[in-house]
Symmetry: C2
Subunit: 157 residues, 2 copies
């Protein structure tokens, strides 16, 4: 934010409930990181949603689409389309689950694993750069507050 925008934001913030200000700032940060991430991941030919799939499947191979949907907070229908596109791109495969003939288990292809090995550290380095201005205690405090809000969202669902 430019100094001018920063000042304007603060002025506007002055009239608002603290909770609303917290949310606006959080949303702003999210959107900016999202956009930066999007540009960053383009070098790997990935969208942010595809990166999330790659990261999840890569760190827990064999998970079901249902489980993936739960982790990504999207519907199973959306996951199906996402997996379709990534299978077309040769990054993931669906394997039949021997114990449940309805289910598929998701795995990365060799190509997917190679991309995982490069893209995930690269993306994490970007995040480290962006969030690196907060020291360890601040990270902990930030995470604790976000957990608090997360739980409030589950409580009065």
């Amino acid at each position: 934010m430019s100094p001018v925008q920063e000042e304007a934001a603060t002025a506007r913030a002055g009239h608002r409930q603290p909770t609303v200000v917290s949310w606006l700032r959080l949303a702003r940060v999210y959107q900016k990181v999202q956009q930066r991430t999007q540009r960053h991941l383009r070098q790997f030919g990935l969208t942010t949603a595809q990166f999330d799939v790659l990261a999840q499947v890569g760190s827990a191979e064999g998970l079901s689409q249902q489980e993936l949907a739960r982790r990504l907070l999207v519907t199973k229908g959306n996951v199906c389309g996402l997996v379709d596109r990534m299978a077309d791109a040769g990054l993931v495969v669906r394997r039949a689950d021997p114990d449940d003939r309805r289910a598929h288990r998701l795995e990365l292809t060799d190509q997917g694993r190679q991309l995982y090995a490069v893209a995930v550290p690269s993306q994490e380095a970007l995040i480290a750069e962006i969030f690196g201005g907060l020291d360890r205690d601040e990270q902990r405090a930030l995470q604790a507050m976000l957990r608090n809000v997360d739980h409030a969202l589950d409580a009065d669902a």
Copy 2:
């Protein structure tokens, strides 16, 4: 998050850089609030993007589309389409800028102002509920940390 999911998330988090954990938690909270907001705003016939336009124009009538694009972190092309839809819905109007014949100034219609008067407080109440678990000091700390990250994003743009 269920206790099981919470535990799983914490276990996974243990292997990761603190910055990455912070980002994952932030993204998770954002997405959940976004989804909740989406459902909440449906009663007013608004998408979240349209609500953002309503809130911005309502609190700063006469702003240009360019300025609106800057505030919403989207392109002017996107704003054009958004404003189109909201003008079709009878919520905003484009007025010619007397000082700059290229520009438009955005205003709410009477109907838009009525909706603003109802939807904005309602949405703010929802946010207050979600973020209300944090006390005043925590809100301040959260906002300060988010500002820190926001500035980091501007620094190495």
